[in-house]
């Protein structure tokens, strides 16, 4: 590198660029957070939906599934499972309830979690709520 470009200049680009970028991220974050209510329909975020998120986390569903594209890629995307199951929370609950305890031979199969009815309803409502977030039209089709 040329001699005229000094270490001091390089340091100024680092400090200035870094601080500027962080401040820009902070202000964009501020804007995003204030714009989110329009997109995440939080008015529908009931205590039941919140409980559903807790059930989702306590049972480590993300250890196999993806949710809005993040997770383990081992089992189907669930951000749109509500639509895939014909707009039905009952079907979601039934599907989770009816997993065979010994699994299905020769195939990836979901465990039996022995959830209570309250938990089953909550997780289904959570997945319904998630499916109604405005995700810029993702996933590309119903298969997720």
């Amino acid at each position: 590198m040329s001699e005229r470009f000094t270490k001091g200049m390089a340091r100024n680009i680092y400090v200035g660029g870094g601080v500027f970028s962080l401040l820009l991220l902070l202000s964009l974050t501020f804007h995003t957070v204030s714009a989110l209510p329009e997109r995440d329909h939080r008015e529908n975020l009931t205590p039941q939906v919140a409980l559903g998120k807790k059930v989702w986390e306590d049972n480590d569903c993300i250890g196999c599934h993806t949710l809005l594209g993040e997770g383990a890629y081992f089992a189907p995307e669930l951000g749109n499972v509500y639509q895939r199951f014909g707009d039905s929370t009952e079907t979601i609950a039934m599907c989770i309830r009816s997993r065979p305890a010994e699994g299905i031979p020769g195939r990836r199969s979901m465990p039996q979690f022995n959830l209570s009815d309250e938990e089953l309803n909550a997780i289904s409502e959570f997945l319904k709520w998630t499916s109604e977030i405005n995700t810029n039209d993702w996933p590309p089709n119903i298969e997720g």
């Binding site: 270490k7 991220l25 998120k53 986390e57 993040e70 993702w138 298969e143």
Partner: protein, 338 residues
């Protein structure tokens, strides 16, 4: 609990914070009482940044969109932000030591690399805000800044090869030199090339959460953050063990074999997962009559077997690597080398 990468129960997270703070205190006091170089200050800045961003792991709101938004402040702002400071600092340190190139030159490079890392990577967080409920303008910001993110990794490759070709001495620890060059190349391939592949919003629309993501994650993590750790171990271990500046020629030969086995295996793993990803996207997301996730997975098992085989190759490389520490203990090389 129950969030990807942040699975630790809260009590464990608190434990992590305590251990990290203790570690930073130790390093910090060491740096403060010794010579404060650019390298050590950048390293310390990266470590403090690591601790600060980990604090966002304690924030877990009921609102999934907010949860995801700040989850990425740990995940992305670590690997494409503050960790790059740590990576750059360790690489710069080892290059100073093994090439003998003037510290001024190396520090100038380091500043420029981390400047580009922050300028591209901080707003580049937006490449995770395309399809999780966040506003549309992130598609532009994430695509543009994401597309620039390979620059610091490319600079690291130029940096490493330039310094080694301008070396003022032949350091006896050629294994460490190999690791330093290797991490620069593999970080560029895994983070830079495989990252660029899916960082544009219209591409990510199809690749998001597919095996392409897994392919990229594997190579980027190995190339940048596994290999830099193995680089500094390779450099420091002989010194710590009182073997002089380098392990014996025999041990280095084994270590180099381990390097190639692990690295080539990781390339095959990445290619296999990329093949799986391309097919998955084609069958499940682009076809006229898309297949279900499970049916798609059944059609791409060939690539998973390939990935499994390469994983075994990697494991053998790892065993060989550990074994290299026990080779040729009796014949320590000359201690006089610079």
């Amino acid at each position: 609990m129950g969030r990807e990468f942040l699975e630790q129960p809260t009590i464990t997270k608190v434990g992590i914070v305590i251990v990290v703070l203790g570690f930073i205190f130790n390093i910090g006091m060491t740096v403060l009482s010794g010579r404060k170089t650019v390298v050590s200050v950048v390293l310390l800045t990266g470590l403090v940044g690591l601790a600060v961003f980990f604090l966002f792991s304690f924030y877990n709101p009921d609102n999934l969109v907010l949860d995801k938004y700040f989850w990425w402040w740990v995940v992305h702002l670590w690997v494409e932000g503050v960790w790059e400071l740590i990576l750059g600092a360790i690489l710069a340190f080892v290059l100073i030591k093994v090439t003998g190139v003037d510290r001024e030159v190396i520090e100038k490079w380091l500043y420029l690399i981390i400047a580009m890392a922050l300028i591209t990577g901080v707003i580049g967080t937006g490449h995770h805000y395309f399809y999780i409920g966040t506003p549309e303008y992130w598609m532009w910001l994430g695509s543009i800044f994401g597309a620039l993110e390979p620059i610091p990794f490319f600079m690291m490759t130029l940096f490493a090869f330039n310094m080694v070709s301008r070396r003022r001495r032949e350091h006896p620890n050629q294994a460490a030199v190999l690791w330093a060059l290797g991490t620069a190349v593999m970080a560029f391939l895994g983070a830079g090339v495989w990252g660029f592949m899916h960082t544009l919003a219209p591409v990510n629309y199809y690749t998001h959460g597919s095996q392409i993501t897994a392919a990229h994650g594997h190579m980027a993590f190995y190339g940048a953050y596994v290999m830099i750790v193995l680089t500094i171990i390779s450099y420091a271990m002989p010194i710590l063990r009182g073997q002089g500046n380098a392990a014996s020629a025999g041990a280095q030969r084994v270590e180099k074999w381990a390097f190639w086995l692990m690295t080539v295996s990781m390339v095959v793993i990445t290619l296999a997962l990329t093949g799986a990803g391309v097919l998955q996207i084609w069958l499940q997301r682009m076809a006229e009559e898309p297949m279900s996730f499970m049916a798609t997975q059944d059609s791409i098992t060939f690539f998973y077997w390939l990935r499994e085989a390469a994983g075994l190759g990697f494991l053998i490389g790892l065993v060989l690597y550990v074994y290299s520490f026990f080779v040729g203990k009796a014949t320590t090389p000359a201690r006089s080398a610079a």
